[in-house]
C-alpha cells in the first residue's frame, strides 16, 4: 500500500517536472537568442586549422573541455583496472568457439580497422574524428577478445598504463608547449594547428580505444580487499 502511494507521488512529481520543463522549453523556443554563436564560429573557422566545424570546436575553440574529458575517461580506466584481477585476463570463460563469431571476425576486423582509420582521417573536414574512431577501434578489440585472441598488452602493467595515458600526455604536452613560449595554455602556434590537431587526434584514438577496451576487459573482479578503517585486520 505504502509502495503504491510512493509510486504515485513519484510519478506525479516526475510528470509535473516534465510538464514544467516542456513549458519552459516552449517559452524559450519563442525567444530570440542574443548571441549568434554559429555565425561567429564560421567567421573564425579558417583560423582553426580544420574545415569541419565540430572538430574545430572540439580540438581548438573548446579544447580545454576535450582535455578534461579525456581526463574523465582516464579516471574511469584507472578505477576500472584498479579493481581488475591480474591473473584473469586470459580467462578461458571468455573464449567462444562460435562459428558465426569466427566468420564475423575474419571479415569484420579488417573492415572495422579500415573504418576506424577512415573516421580518424575524415575528422578534419567531414563528420568523424578521434572519438568515433576510438570507439570503433575499441569495438574491434572487444570482438577480437570475444574470439579469444590473446591480449597480453591489457595486463595491468606499465604498458597498459602508458597506453591509457599516451593520448592525454601528448595533448597536455602540446597544450603546455605554447604556454612556455608565452602564449595562452592550449593555444596552437600559428600555422601548426592542422598538423598538431592531426597528431593529437591520432594518439587520442589509440588511448580512447585502450581505455574503453580496458574497462571492458577489467570486468572480472579482484578478490582482495582493504579492511575497513578500524576493523581488525
Amino acid at each position: 500500500m505504502i509502495r503504491v502511494v510512493r509510486l504515485l507521488i513519484l510519478a506525479v512529481a516526475c510528470l509535473a517536472l516534465t510538464a514544467a520543463l516542456a513549458a519552459s522549453i516552449w517559452a524559450i523556443a519563442g525567444n530570440p537568442s542574443p548571441v549568434n554563436l554559429p555565425q561567429l564560429l564560421s567567421e573564425n573557422l579558417d583560423r582553426s586549422g580544420v574545415e569541419h566545424p565540430v572538430t574545430a570546436v572540439l580540438l581548438n575553440f573548446r579544447s580545454y573541455d576535450t582535455l578534461l574529458e579525456i581526463g574523465v575517461l582516464v579516471i574511469a580506466g584507472i578505477a576500472g583496472i584498479s579493481m581488475a584481477k591480474t591473473a584473469s585476463l586470459e580467462d578461458p570463460e571468455l573464449r567462444t568457439s562460435d562459428a558465426l563469431l569466427y566468420a564475423l571476425q575474419r571479415w569484420f576486423i579488417p573492415l572495422m580497422l579500415v573504418l576506424a582509420g577512415y573516421l580518424l582521417w575524415a575528422g578534419a573536414d567531414r563528420p568523424g574524428g578521434a572519438f568515433q574512431a576510438g570507439a570503433v577501434l575499441a569495438a574491434t578489440g572487444v570482438l577480437m577478445r570475444l574470439g579469444g585472441v590473446p591480449m597480453e598488452f591489457l595486463r595491468p602493467g606499465l604498458l597498459l598504463r602508458l597506453g591509457l595515458a599516451l593520448g592525454f600526455m601528448v595533448f597536455l604536452l602540446v597544450a603546455v608547449a605554447s604556454a612556455i613560449g608565452g602564449d595562452a595554455f592550449l593555444a596552437y602556434p600559428p600555422g601548426m594547428a592542422k598538423i598538431l590537431i592531426v597528431v593529437i587526434e591520432s594518439v587520442l584514438t589509440l588511448s580512447i580505444a585502450m581505455v574503453l577496451l580496458a574497462l571492458f576487459v577489467s570486468a572480472p573482479v579482484n578478490d582482495a580487499e582493504d579492511p575497513e578503517e578500524g576493523s581488525p585486520s
Binding site: A20, L21, A23, S24, I25, A27, I28, A29, G30, N31, S33, P34, V35, N36, L37, L40, L41, N60, F61, R62, S63, Y64, D65, L68, E69, G71, V72, V74, I75, A76, I78, A79, I81, S82, M83, T86, R161, L162, L164, A165, F168, L172, A175, V176, A179, I180, G182, A184, F185, L186, A187, Y188, N222, A224, E225, D226, E228, E229, G230, S231
Partner: protein, 489 residues
C-alpha cells in the same frame, strides 16, 4: 609571468596525474611531494600576483568567450585555489604516510588524487557553464574512485550511492545548461550576466537556473538530498574523507553560489531564496542532531559536514534583494565559512583517522583512555571542534558573526536562531567524543602509536582554522580587488 603561473597551475596537477600513473605507490609519493610543492608555490604566486595587479579573464587557447572558454581569475577564485593547495597538499602528505604502500591497488591513489586536484582548480576558475560541468564530472568520478579504491562491499555500496547521486546532480545541471544555451546562445556566465543587466528577463529562463541549482544542491548534499554523503565520507580512508568533506562538496556549492550572485537577482525569486535558506537551516539542525546520535567516530564528523554545509546556503536569502552592504557581509561570511570549515574539517578527519588507527576501532565507545596516548591528535580534533562550534577567535566565529550581522541588517532575524542552535548542537557532539576519550576503560590498554608526521599535519590545519579569525580582514580584502572586466591581460 602571470601567464606562466596560470599555465603552471593548469598543467601541474594533470601532468602529475600522468606521472604518478606510471609509478608505484612509494615512488608516486616522492613524485607527489615535488608536485605538491610546485603546485603550492604556483598557487601562492598566482594569489600574490592577483593581489598586486587585480583579477583578469584568461582565454584558453587564445580564444575569448563566447567562442572559447574563459577562466575567471579573480580574488575569490585565487583564494580558493590557495586554500585547495593548503588542504589538498596536507591531505596528500598525510595520505603518503597513512596509506599502506604494499597493496597493489594503492598505486592508483595518486593519479586519482591529482585528477581530483585539477578538477577543483578547473571549478574555482571556471567561467564557462559547460566547462564547469566537465570539471564537476572530473571531480565526481575521481572522488568515487578514491572512495571505492580497494574497498569492501560497504565501501562499494557507499561509492555507488555517491556515484548515482553525483550523476543525477550533473544531469540536472547539464539540463539547466542546455536551457541557458538555448535561451542566451552563449555558455559564458559573464556574457549572460552582462546581457541580462540591460535587457528584460526572457520567459522560461528561471527554470534553467532552478535546474542548475537543484542539481548542484544534490551534489553539495543539501538537506533533504544529503543521504548519500555520510556513508561515503564515513567509509573512505581518512585522508580521502578529509578531501571530500573539505573541498569536493565545496566545489559544487561554489558554482551554485557564483551562479546565484551573478544571475540570482534577475532570474531567481524571493520564495526560492527563502526556501533554500530554510533547507540550509534544516540541514544545520538535523545534521547536528544526527551527528550527536552516531555510534561511529567518522560518521559524527560526516554528519557534522552536512550541518556545516547548511550554513553556506544561508548565502542565498541573504544576498537576494538586500542592500549592497548586507550582501557583501553575507558573501564574506560565506567565504570565511568555506575556508574555516575546509581547514577544520580536514584537520578533524585526519585526526579522527589517527585516533582510529590508534585504538583499532571506529566506534566512539572504544575511544576510552585514548587521551593519555594520543593527546596531540585529540587536541587537534578539539581545536578543529572549537572552530566548528564557532567560538571566538576562530574562523568559524568570524564567519557566523558576519552571517549574523547580515541577517540582522536585512531584517531576516530568523536565521539568527539557526546560527545559535547550530553552535550549541555542534558543541554537544564535539564534547561527546571528548567525554568518551577521557573515560578510562576497564579493558587492556593496547594502543598503536601512529608516526609523528601523521599527528603534526592535522595540528597545523587546526591551528590555521583557529587563526583564520584573527586574519579574516586580510583574507577578505582580496574579494574587493579590482577586476579587469574585459579580455586577457
Amino acid at each position: 609571468m602571470t601567464l606562466w603561473l596560470m599555465a603552471g597551475l593548469l598543467f601541474t596537477p594533470l601532468a602529475w596525474a600522468v606521472l604518478t600513473l606510471l609509478t608505484d605507490f612509494s615512488r608516486g609519493r616522492l613524485v607527489s611531494w615535488v608536485g605538491i610543492l610546485v603546485q603550492a608555490l604556483v598557487s601562492l604566486g598566482l594569489w600574490l600576483a592577483v593581489n598586486r595587479d587585480g583579477g583578469f579573464y584568461y582565454g584558453l587557447g587564445g580564444w575569448d568567450a563566447p567562442l572559447g572558454i574563459e577562466l575567471r581569475v579573480d580574488g575569490l577564485a585565487v583564494t580558493f585555489v590557495l586554500l585547495t593547495a593548503v588542504v589538498a597538499g596536507a591531505c596528500g602528505l598525510h595520505a603518503g604516510v597513512y596509506i599502506d604502500p604494499d597493496k597493489p591497488w594503492h598505486r592508483y591513489f595518486w593519479p586519482l588524487f591529482w585528477f581530483l586536484w585539477s578538477g577543483l582548480n578547473a571549478v574555482w576558475l571556471g567561467g564557462d557553464l559547460f566547462n564547469l560541468y566537465v570539471g564537476l564530472e572530473l571531480i565526481s568520478l575521481s572522488a568515487v574512485g578514491l572512495v571505492a579504491l580497494g574497498g569492501q562491499a560497504g565501501a562499494l555500496r557507499a561509492s555507488l550511492r555517491y556515484l548515482l547521486a553525483a550523476l543525477l546532480g550533473s544531469l540536472a545541471y547539464l539540463l539547466g545548461v542546455a536551457l541557458m544555451y538555448g535561451q542566451f546562445g552563449t555558455l559564458s556566465i559573464a556574457g549572460v550576466a552582462t546581457w541580462l543587466s540591460d535587457h528584460p528577463v526572457p520567459a522560461g529562463s528561471g527554470m534553467a537556473l532552478a535546474l542548475m541549482i537543484a542539481g548542484l544542491a544534490l551534489k553539495t548534499a543539501l538537506f533533504p538530498l544529503h543521504r548519500w554523503l555520510p556513508p561515503a565520507h564515513g567509509i573512505a580512508k581518512s585522508p580521502v574523507s578529509a578531501l571530500l568533506s573539505a573541498l569536493v562538496v565545496k566545489a559544487s556549492f561554489y558554482i551554485a553560489a557564483r551562479l546565484w550572485l551573478e544571475l540570482g537577482q534577475p532570474l531567481g525569486s524571493l520564495a526560492a531564496a527563502q526556501l533554500i535558506g530554510l533547507l540550509g537551516s534544516a540541514a544545520v539542525v538535523w545534521g547536528s542532531w544526527l551527528a550527536c546520535r552516531q555510534q561511529r567516530l567518522k560518521q559524527v564528523v560526516a554528519y557534522s559536514s552536512v550541518a556545516q554545509i547548511g550554513y553556506l546556503f544561508l548565502l542565498f536569502p541573504l544576498t537576494f534583494s538586500v542592500s549592497e552592504t548586507v550582501s557583501l557581509q553575507a558573501q564574506q561570511g560565506m567565504t570565511l565559512q568555506v575556508i574555516s570549515h575546509a581547514l577544520a574539517k580536514a584537520a578533524m578527519f585526519l585526526a579522527a583517522g589517527n585516533l582510529i588507527l590508534s585504538v583499532g576501532s571506529n566506534r566512539i565507545d572504544a575511544l576510552g583512555g585514548v587521551s593519555r596516548f594520543l593527546p596531540f591528535s585529540l587536541f587537534s580534533f578539539g581545536l578543529a571542534g572549537v572552530s566548528l562550534m564557532s567560538l571566538p577567535p576562530t574562523g568559524g566565529f568570524a564567519a557566523k558573526w558576519l552571517l549574523l550581522q547580515a541577517s540582522l541588517g536585512s531584517g531576516q532575524w530568523w536565521w539568527v536562531l539557526v546560527l545559535l542552535a547550530g553552535g550549541l548542537l555542534s558543541a554537544a557532539y564535539v564534547f561527546r567524543i571528548y567525554r568518551a576519550s577521557f573515560l578510562e576503560s576497564s579493558g587492556t590498554d593496547q594502543f598503536f602509536h601512529p608516526s609523528r608526521s601523521l599527528e603534526v599535519i592535522p595540528m597545523i590545519l587546526a591551528i590555521l582554522a583557529l587563526g583564520m579569525g584573527l586574519v579574516s580582514d586580510q583574507v577578505l580584502s582580496v574579494m574587493a580587488l579590482p577586476f579587469a572586466g574585459e579580455g586577457a591581460p
